[in-house]
Amino acid sequence: MKILGSEITPYKTYLNRRKFIKGSLASAMLATITSSAFANHDSDLSIYTKNLNENDKLNSYEEITTYNNFYEFGTHKKHPHLNSGNFKPRPWTIKIDGLVKKPQTFDLEKILSNVTIEDRVYRLRCVEAWSMVIPWQGFQLSELIKMAEPLSSAKYVQFVTVFRPEEMPGQQKRTIIWPYREGLRMDEAMNPLTILATGLYGHEMPNQNGAPIRLVVPWKYGFKSIKSIVEIRFLDTQPETSWETLAPWEYGFYANVNPNVNHPRWSQGTERRIGEFKRRETLMFNGYEKEVAHLYKDLDLTKFY
C-alpha cells in the first residue's frame, strides 16, 4: 500500500510529539496508511483501553468531536464542530499573573517542552446529564503551577478562555459574559487527576474541543473544564466563574458531580452515556471518589454545589 504524503503531513504539526516518540510512533505511522485520518487511532485502541474501567467503553472520535458544548462557537451541540474551522490555535501563549513570584507570558511550545505528555482516559460528565469516555493526552496542571511559582498566599486559580469574536462566531452574541472564566481551589488544581489536555485520540486538540490547550477536571461537571485557555491567575479569594455568574441558583463554584444534589433542570441521579440506550446511575465524584473525596471532607456539598 502506498502512503500519500498528504496523509502524513498533519502529523508533522502534532503538539503531542513526545507521546509519539514514547512508543506509539510506529502505530501512528501504521495508522496513516488507512484512508481516514483518524480511523488509525480507532483501530489501535489498546493504548487507551488499558486505562479503562471495566464498565466503560471509549467514545468514538466522531462522537467526541461532533457533540460539544463550546458556546464560543454557538449554542447547539453541533455548532462547535461546524463553526470552529476559522479558529487559529497557533501560535499560542498563556499569561500567568496574580499572586505569583513573577507575572509572565509563556509560549505554549515552551510549556510543552517542560512537561510530560501522557495518556489519560477519563469519564466526562456534563451537567446536562450526558457523559462520554475520552482518551486525552495532556500533562498535570500541577506541573504548570510549579513553573508559574505562585506565592503561598495564592488559594485559588482562575482560568480565562481566549476572546476572538472574529474567529469564534458565538462570541459575537452575548449569550454569556465573555470571556469564559473558570476556577479551582488550589488543592483541586494540584490534584494529580487535574490535567491540561493538548490532544485526544492522539490528535492535537481539535478546535471544537478547546484547542490548543484546555483543562480537564474529571470529577466535576464538564463546564468546569474550560477550553482554549489564554490566562491563568492566582488569587487569594474565590474567583468568579461564568456559569455561576449567569445563574447562581443553578451552577455553583464547586460543581462536583454528585447524584444526590439535584439541579433545577436536570436530575443528576442518572446520565445517558453517549452511545448507550439506557441511562446509567451517576457515580459520586463521577467515579473518582477515592482520589478526590478527601478534598471535601469538611464541606457541606449540598450547600457548596
Binding site: 462522537e63 453541533k78 452574541k173 439535584n262 433542570r265 441521579g269 445517558r272 453517549i274 452511545g275 440506550f277
Partner: protein, 201 residues
C-alpha cells in the same frame, strides 16, 4: 379570495407535509441517523414541532379575520390535532425512550423541575381540546361550552413556550421569539374583543 373549497383541497397535501417529519425522524432514529445523542434529538425535534403547530393554530384564527383568508379556519382543527399528535410523541419519547418507564423517577421529575411541570400541564390541557375536536362533540356540548373549553389553547401555548424558555441554558432568542408571537396573537384577540361593536341585548 380563497374559498373553503380551496382550503379543503389543500388538506391532503398539508396532512402529508405535517406528518412527514415524524416519519422521517422515526426512520432516522431506527437506522441510527439522528446524531450522537438520538433520544435527545428526537425529543427536541418533536417538541419544537409541537410548539410551532400550536402557534400556527393560534395564527390561523387571527388570519381568518382577514377577509380573503376567512375560510382558512377550516384548517385549524387538523393542525391542532397534529400539534397534539406531536406532543404525544414528544411525551412518550420522554417516558419510554428517555426514562424507560421509570415512573417513580418521572413523577419526581415532573414535580421538581419547573420546565417539565410546565410542559406536563400544557400536555394535560391539550387532552380535552383534542378529544372534543369533532363536529359531533361541538353539537353535543353546544358551541358556547365547546368554545370555552377551547380557550384552553391559550394556557397551552403560554406553558409550552415557557417549557422551552426555561429549558434553554443561555441563548434564549428562539423561545423569546415564540413567546413574542404568542403574546402578539393574544393581544390582537383582546384588542378585537374590546373594540367589537356592542350588540344590542
Amino acid at each position: 379570495m380563497f374559498s373553503t373549497r380551496n382550503f379543503n383541497r389543500s388538506k391532503p397535501v398539508l396532512f402529508i407535509l405535517i406528518l412527514f417529519p415524524s416519519l422521517l425522524w422515526a426512520y432516522q432514529f431506527v437506522t441510527g441517523n439522528l446524531g450522537v445523542n438520538p433520544i435527545e434529538k428526537l425529543m427536541d425535534e418533536l417538541g419544537l414541532m409541537a410548539l410551532r403547530l400550536i402557534i400556527i393554530t393560534l395564527m390561523i384564527t387571527t388570519l381568518s379575520n382577514i377577509k380573503p383568508l376567512k375560510s382558512i379556519v377550516v384548517l385549524r382543527r387538523m393542525i391542532g390535532l397534529f400539534a397534539f399528535y406531536y406532543v404525544c410523541l414528544h411525551f412518550s419519547t420522554y417516558i419510554v425512550l428517555d426514562h424507560f418507564l421509570d415512573m417513580q423517577f418521572i413523577v419526581q421529575d415532573i414535580i421538581k423541575r419547573p420546565f417539565i411541570t410546565f410542559g406536563f400541564i400544557s400536555f394535560l390541557f391539550l387532552i380535552p381540546l383534542a378529544s372534543t375536536s369533532t363536529n359531533n362533540m361541538i353539537k353535543r356540548l353546544g358551541f358556547k361550552l365547546w368554545k370555552k373549553i377551547h380557550y384552553l389553547i391559550y394556557p397551552v401555548a403560554i406553558l409550552a413556550s415557557m417549557h422551552f424558555y426555561v429549558l434553554v441554558r443561555a441563548d434564549k432568542t428562539e423561545p423569546v421569539i415564540y413567546m413574542g408571537i404568542i403574546i402578539l396573537l393574544l393581544l390582537h384577540r383582546i384588542f378585537k374583543r374590546l373594540t367589537r361593536p356592542q350588540l344590542a341585548q
